[in-house]
């Protein structure tokens, strides 16, 4: 298969409440991605936008940002799901031979919605919604299931919060950069047992964009490309009760596909840095297992050993991760952007030294029902 390059990346800063409109956020991110690539909108042959009608409170949410994405007179489509899926569609459209370049944009303003009601609407309208279940309370069920399987304790999960909020101190785009201790996390307000405030990602506003190109399209850009070496996506069952919440088999499947495509056999050794979707602290060790970084139930050992800290064998979320800035949908695209910056050696103070191969991961649906995994490299 022909290889596709990530040649331009852009993200806004992430904040609890931005006064910019959706159009302004997308315009900023798209402009940054284009100028990063050394491109103009005229170099772009087609556009993919990513948005969600519930989060935007608007039917056909992509309508609001068409002009900001530069879609006038071009082929365009809209993915409703995590930004990683948007990048995948942009990639497919180039691979089809119809286009040489794609701009993918993604936006979200958590500040303009009600997280509880919007994520409650993911669940079955007759049997589950009236229980009040939402993203946080369903995550708490998953955290508990994972604790039962692995023997992990709340203090172990707190290590994720300490590590990632600490990493965020090196990332000027992040929202929650904090020096924390396990005690701080344990003492924070209980949100949904066993999750406490500092186990949960914040509500965020922001946007992101990437420019994709094939070899032919690359001639238009100034920037050296980072290549998508592997990608895979997969969805598990919908009902929480049909799934084993502590065994992310869809992530196993997606990661295996991405690794096979990238020729990776030992991810822990061959991947230099990873940006994964830690919407809640417990998710990070659980996704380690799904990604094959550790055996089942052993994810927390990587945390305890510091293997995933900066300077460890495989630094995870050098950017601070989703727990430090969580613009829904955008956060997955930011994982890819951060992976690109690592491979380029342009990650500033959060740079993992000598990173050549990086992993990025996004999720869709309650408790990580679907996953999309990228391996990128120089």
């Amino acid at each position: 298969m022909e290889r596709i390059a990530l040649v331009g990346v852009g993200q806004t800063g992430f904040e609890r409440r931005k006064t910019d409109t959706y159009e302004e956020l997308v315009f900023e991110a798209a402009g940054k991605a284009l100028s990063d690539a050394g491109a103009r909108i005229g170099d772009i042959e087609n556009i993919i936008t990513v948005s969600n009608d519930f989060w935007d409170g608007r039917t056909i949410s992509s309508m609001a940002i068409q002009d900001a994405a530069g879609s006038w007179g071009r082929d365009i489509s809209t993915v409703e799901g995590d930004g990683t899926f948007g990048i995948l569609y942009g990639m497919m459209r180039i691979l089809s031979g119809s286009f040489n370049t794609t701009l993918v944009v993604c936006h979200s303003k958590g500040s303009e919605g009600e997280m509880n009601l919007i994520t409650n609407a993911m669940f079955d309208p007759l049997f589950q919604r009236s229980l009040g279940i939402d993203a946080v309370s369903s995550a708490a069920l998953q955290a508990r299931a994972y604790m039962d399987l692995s023997g992990a304790r709340e203090e172990d999960f707190a290590l994720v919060s300490v590590k990632n909020h600490g990493n965020a101190l090196n990332n000027p785009m992040s929202q929650l950069a904090m020096e924390l201790t396990v005690e701080n996390v344990m003492a924070s307000r209980k949100v949904a047992d066993p999750l406490k405030l500092l186990d949960c990602s914040p509500i965020s506003d922001g946007a992101a964009a990437v420019v994709l190109a094939n070899r032919k399209g690359l001639s238009r850009f100034k920037k050296d490309p980072v290549w998508i070496k592997g990608v895979g996506h997969c969805a598990d069952s919908y009902s929480l009760g049909y799934r084993d919440l502590a065994r992310p088999r869809a992530l196993n499947n997606a990661a295996e596909k991405a690794y096979a495509m990238a020729g990776i056999k030992k991810p822990l050794k061959e991947i230099d840095a990873a940006e994964i979707y830690d919407a809640f602290s417990y998710m990070e060790p659980l996704w380690y297992e799904g990604l094959g970084f550790s055996a089942e139930g052993k994810g927390v050992e990587l945390l305890r050993d510091g293997a995933t800290s900066m300077g460890g064998a495989i630094p995870v979320n050098p950017s601070g991760g989703v727990i430090s800035a969580h613009a829904v949908l955008v956060a997955g695209m930011v994982r890819v952007i951060e992976a690109v910056l690592q491979v380029r050696g342009e990650a500033g103070k959060r740079q993992v030294k000598g990173a050549k191969t990086a992993l990025a991961h996004g999720i869709n649906g309650p408790c990580g029902q679907a996953h999309c995994v990228y391996v990128v490299g120089s």
Binding site: D53, S62, M63, T78, T119, P125, S237, S239, P366
Partner: protein
């Protein structure tokens, strides 16, 4: 370069004003099973699933995730796209690109809507800007009425011309067992006589002048599924697959004042891009049948001009001359089209599926009596957003 891609299977549910016998996931499953049966495949043969609808109609967030047990997406790559009225064609395009990319060989594309569970107009209003537009723009009908009256004024088009399109769609729909509106009372009557009835009947209420009840599409419950396959497997699955010759779209509109309402410029641009790809110079002669997303009658006049099937202002003559009837030079909407059935997220995909059936020669009573080399399908939505997909009987070179 990517893979040549063809449609090898199509399934649709019976479409009705309210399908109380099934819930949304079951409705989706009905279409998926029908498509798999049509292609003689099992769900195990499917490599990836693409789905779309309009979220606010049924009030389900993350429909791609909610529906996996019905769509067959459990432990498969699943993807959601949505673009309003164009969702069905957007799903088709996404299914096409999944296969054309070379990443997947057999992809299931699903569109669905259960309008009986929705406040359709309430949801559509929220498509518009919350501050500047929502207070003064109604749902779908008012904008289309403005478009129709502009067109009538420019070319001296009459209500009879619009009614002639409505009559054609409803007569064609009588041949389609799946479609929602079966106006059996029209059976055996002449078009002229039906037009006279529609424009004079007091029962045929004016909704927003010049649009009467008979000029509009219904709200429908229904689902559809199309199976796309790569050139490596397509001909093994189907003896005569419907190849995707080209597909393009334009979604220009953001604000009401952005577009010239006198023309459908997105449909014009997307159609001409598709015709250019396929080497089509005289669309009226070279395209054999159309399944067009005509949400209301006057679109069947004006948009024919936008697509280049006739000159500006010549739409009414084309239709009155019978060119677009079943036995005409370019039969339009043998299925009865959107004015007979509009399960919104499925509607565009049904156009693509019906166009594919015409190429495969499997459209039953609605099959056109001619050899079909090119069949054209369109989607309409947003506000004057257009998707176009051209299917061909021959594998593209």
């Amino acid at each position: 370069m990517g893979k040549k891609t063809a449609i090898v299977g199509f399934g649709q549910t019976y479409q009705r004003s309210s399908r109380k016998d099934v819930n949304g996931v079951e409705l989706i499953n009905e279409a998926v099973r029908a498509a798999l049966d049509d292609a003689q495949l099992s769900i195990k043969d499917i490599d990836a699933v693409v789905i779309g609808n309009m979220d606010h109609f049924e009030g389900i967030n993350y429909v791609d995730m909610w529906s996996v047990e019905g769509s067959g997406g459990v432990m498969k790559p699943v993807f959601k796209v949505t673009t309003g009225g164009t969702t069905g064609t957007t799903v088709a395009m996404c299914g096409y690109y999944h296969v054309a990319s070379g990443m997947f060989d057999r992809v299931l594309a699903i569109g669905w809507e259960k309008n009986s569970e929705s406040d359709t107009t309430g949801a559509i209003i929220t498509a518009f800007h919350p501050v500047w537009e929502r207070p003064n723009i109604g749902g779908a009908i008012a904008g289309l009425a403005v478009e129709a009256s502009l067109y009538m004024n420019k070319y001296g088009v009459t209500e009879r011309d619009g009614a002639r399109v409505a009559v054609r769609e409803r007569l064609h729909g009588l041949n389609n067992p799946y479609t929602h509106l079966h106006q059996d009372w029209m059976k055996g009557m002449e078009s002229e006589q039906l037009v006279n009835l529609l424009v004079s009947s007091e029962q045929n209420k004016v909704l927003a002048w010049p649009l009467r009840m008979s000029d509009m599409c219904p709200r429908t419950d229904g689902a559809a599924a199309v199976i796309f396959a790569s050139e490596d497997v397509a001909e093994k699955i189907s003896p005569r697959p419907a190849w995707v010759a080209s597909t393009h779209n334009r979604h220009n509109y953001v604000y009401l004042g952005d577009i010239d309402w006198a023309d459908n410029d997105t449909l014009a641009a997307a159609s001409s891009a598709v015709f250019r790809d396929a080497g089509i110079k005289e669309p009226l002669k070279e395209v054999d049948v159309c399944e067009l997303y005509l949400p209301y009658s006057y679109a069947g006049l004006k948009w024919m001009e936008s697509m280049g099937f006739c000159g500006p202002g010549e739409g009414p003559k084309l239709v009155w001359d019978g060119v677009t009837d079943m036995d005409g030079e370019l039969p339009v909407n043998p299925s009865g089209g959107v004015m007979c059935s509009n399960p919104i997220g499925a509607t565009g995909l049904i156009r693509v599926g019906e166009a594919a059936l015409q190429i495969m020669g499997r459209a039953g009573d609605r099959q056109v009596k001619r050899n079909v080399n090119f069949a054209m399908a369109t989607g309409f939505g947003g506000c004057n957003w257009s998707d176009v997909m051209l299917l061909g009987g021959k594998k593209p070179s």
